[in-house]
């Protein structure tokens, strides 16, 4: 285990932040450009994971275990969110026979 953790010695904190920002922005672009409701959900998962990685990195950087406990709570929240969200998508599909989010514009005006 010693030599595995040696692998990140010397990686600047900046690079981890940039990686998380890039993946978060990819998630945002996915939410903005796709119309399939399931892919939008997957992009939200991508954003949550980017934040999780950054929390774990800061936890190691500041030598404080609270960050990793927070990641654990975010994972529990993501599991609950996915269960309810996919149930809503199944119900929408049953009513409209499509998961195109542009069908759901009744609340728009």
């Amino acid at each position: 285990m010693e030599n595995i953790t040696q692998a990140i010695h010397g990686v600047p904190l900046n690079n981890y932040i940039l990686l998380s920002i890039l993946i978060f922005c990819i998630g945002v672009v996915g939410v903005l450009t796709r119309r399939n409701a399931i892919i939008i959900f997957m992009s939200v998962e991508l954003m949550l994971n980017a934040v999780n990685l950054l929390l774990a990195v800061f936890s190691v950087y500041h030598n404080n275990a609270s960050g990793q406990v927070f990641v654990f709570f975010i994972m529990a929240l993501a599991a609950a969110e996915v269960a309810v969200g996919l149930a809503i998508i199944v119900m929408i599909y049953r009513n409209t026979h499509s998961i195109d989010i542009n069908v759901l514009n009744k609340l728009k005006w």
Binding site: V11, L19, C25, I38, N52, A56, N63, Q68, L77, D100
Partner: protein, 167 residues
């Protein structure tokens, strides 16, 4: 070689997350998302956060993505039923995302955080250490999250159940 391992895994995460967004077939998209989460697991192992690595592997790759795949198969979607946005809206979305990217990267550059990430105590992310923190400092949030999971389960069953009068 030591540092380049991080850059290789980071490149793979970005590459596969781009494929998640831009692949036309939703099933391929989910499979790429599984690979992306696997690269995140490797990141956690490199940070010696072993508990998070295992939880990420089991909860995300094992439970959440199987749920996604199951719903996708249940709805029987394929490339023909894939809704498409107009090109103008796509370009506007990409430009908006790039604006966010430029803002965040610029604010990071202004901070000058170039200190290396160094693991000071080896057993920071092990189950023993995290369990002590979780059950002393964060005991109340832990119990509340169990109520959250219970209510999510009840809600999912209630939502997905067919109404009795329109069977």
């Amino acid at each position: 070689m030591n540092i380049s391992l991080f850059y290789l895994v980071a490149f793979l995460s970005i590459f596969f997350s781009l494929l998640v967004i831009f692949s036309k077939n939703p099933v391929h998209s989910i499979l790429y998302l599984i690979i992306t989460f696997f690269t995140f697991t490797i990141h956690y192992i490199l940070l010696n956060a072993q508990f998070l690595a295992i939880v990420n592997f089991i909860v995300y790759m094992g439970a959440i993505l199987v749920l996604f795949l199951f719903v996708l198969m249940l709805l029987n979607l394929n490339k023909d039923s894939e809704p498409l946005k107009s090109n103008l809206l796509k370009i506007i979305g990409v430009i908006g995302g790039m604006c966010l990217l430029v803002t965040l990267v610029g604010s990071t550059k202004a901070l000058h955080l170039s200190n290396p990430v160094v693991l000071q105590t080896q057993n920071l992310g092990l189950v023993k250490n995290l369990g002590k923190v979780l059950f002393s400092e964060f005991l109340l949030p832990f119990e509340v999250s169990s109520i959250l999971l219970l209510s999510a389960m009840v809600g999912a069953v209630l939502l997905a159940k067919r109404e009795p009068n329109n069977v």
